[in-house]
Point group: C2
């Protein structure tokens, strides 16, 4: 109960949840940035807020059992999020429209709550603790099944008029190109995402393979080589667009796609440099926090909601193991 | 000398210059926002700073002759501008690299000087006085011979790590597309700019026509119709990219191209809406300040440099005639 060491009972903790369309990734995070416990649950089809509150209460009980008083909760969600009011204006994979999530959670939880955007929160985590540490101008591009981006300029994330900034996955990059599940054609993520890679491969040979399997077949499977080359090409085009518009010092690639490491990054860097006429390319690096970035960002928002954001300044990457 | 009316002798004035590759557009602007005098000179091939200082001194003498003490000068330039230090890192059409313009001007002028970026200053003017009045999230896209953009998010312009944000004209929108004078292929301004329209028309029929002439021939010249349709299509694609990335409330189209008015704006709005899957399109409107926006922005920067930026709050569009 002394509170002197990083994980000692008595340390204040927060509850952090990265709410997604398929899973709710929750954690108890101590004031030194240590993840004390995690729990991931399937996101239900209906009554998502009930399930979310249940997960937060469970983690809160767990923290209390171990002697950690809970100071706040931070919840991050996908979609168009108005962070000033904590309203999710639209989230396709939760089937939400105008959900006043912050108000709903405040009514049911007896500690402060913060609501944020999953990718912008991940960007905040990479900025404070990860691959963009110390940078005021960077972009985080998590490439998983789909693609999003946190665009940070002058130290602040680009939120936009409707909380919808950073929809990088759906920028039109190939006029009249292949159909995207969103209904448009030629979106970035049609070509340069895990889902896109798998769909394009299957459409050409009738065999379902994951993007990881496709990457593993590079050099021995001509079709894998083709869809991968297209992905690199479109990735470089998209990064050139980001570079020219927001001029980041560093581009951080995250998500499952980034696990390809230099197989992805080395050709992406080279192609990006080739697409820039009069300027050097920014650094292109792999995310350091990976899939944990959203949850860590949620914990940071929670400590800020508790008026203890300064604690985060003492966190280090080592203290927030994935 | 009473200083009671907008243009009375005795009112403090500033010198504003919009420095471009072909011309230096200077003005004396009073503290009520009135343009008291203008002078435009050809930008010389060499010794540009000497010529710039000459123009500022001439306008300063003119102001003094009419009884207006000069409080400051504001100079805006194209290129990559580090506004914190007033250094032009790179400006292709001035053939400048790492020019410490602010320091050079301070050494030779005996009043405060501000150095800014031409398009971001134009955005500031549209935000305070023009078509984006009151908006914290908007983009200004001046489409002339070439294309640039001022991207404003949360009330602040996106400057970027190297002062190079907003290079909208050179984002790659058509993979492997037509060659741009910048050396890349498929840049936005290859298709959707005055220069691009004229070049594409001439390349197809061997006849040189200005973009204004091409627009005048719409409906009676099949080739004009074709290059115009391509321009609208690429414009909509580019605006969709801006919308998805920075989520502006309003898109302001400026430059000579905007003079086509609804011939440009009506189809651009419709095509833009068609490229957005799950969200409404932002407003798309014509610039109110036109080619004067950069010079007005320079005057605003000058009043700020003189510690009198608050004066600008009382300006109205009517007080800053083009």
């Amino acid at each position: 109960m002394s509170g002197t060491s990083g994980t000692a009972a008595g340390d204040t903790a927060v509850i952090a949840v990265d709410l997604g369309g398929s899973s709710m990734k929750g954690a108890v995070v101590s004031e030194t940035g240590r993840t004390l416990a995690t729990e991931t649950r399937v996101t239900p089809q209906v009554e998502v807020v009930d399930a979310l509150v249940g997960l937060v209460r469970h983690l809160s009980d767990l923290a209390a059992e171990h002697g950690h008083p809970v100071a706040a909760a931070g919840i991050v969600t996908p979609g168009m999020v108005d962070e000033a009011t904590g309203t999710v204006l639209y989230a396709s994979n939760l089937d939400w429209r105008d959900v006043p999530l912050l108000d709903m959670l405040r009514a049911r939880l007896d500690f402060p709550v913060a609501v944020g955007h999953d990718v912008r929160a991940a960007g905040l985590a990479e900025q404070l603790l990860g691959a963009a540490r110390g940078s005021r101008d960077f972009v985080l591009v998590p490439i998983g099944t789909g693609v999003a981006a946190a665009l940070v300029t002058g130290g602040h994330p680009i939120t936009g008029a409707l909380g919808a900034g950073g929809e990088f996955g759906h920028i039109p990059v190939v006029p009249g190109g292949e159909l995207c599940p969103c209904g448009q054609r030629g979106c970035f993520e049609v070509y340069a995402s895990g889902g896109g890679l798998a769909r394009r491969y299957a459409a050409r040979c009738g065999v379902d393979r994951s993007s990881r399997e496709i990457v593993a077949r590079l050099g021995s499977d001509a079709l894998a080589d083709v869809v991968w080359a297209d992905a690199i090409s479109v990735l470089a085009q998209g990064l050139a667009i980001l570079t020219l518009l927001v001029d980041p010092r560093v581009i951080v690639i995250g998500g499952g796609f980034a696990q390809a490491g230099e197989t992805l990054l080395a050709p992406a860097r080279e192609r990006l440099a080739g697409l820039l006429a009069w300027r050097d390319r920014p650094e292109v690096v792999q995310s350091q926090l990976g899939g944990e970035a959203g949850r860590i960002g949620a914990a940071i928002l929670a400590f800020r909601a508790a008026g203890r954001g300064a604690l985060v300044d003492d966190w280090s990457v080592a203290s927030v193991p994935a």
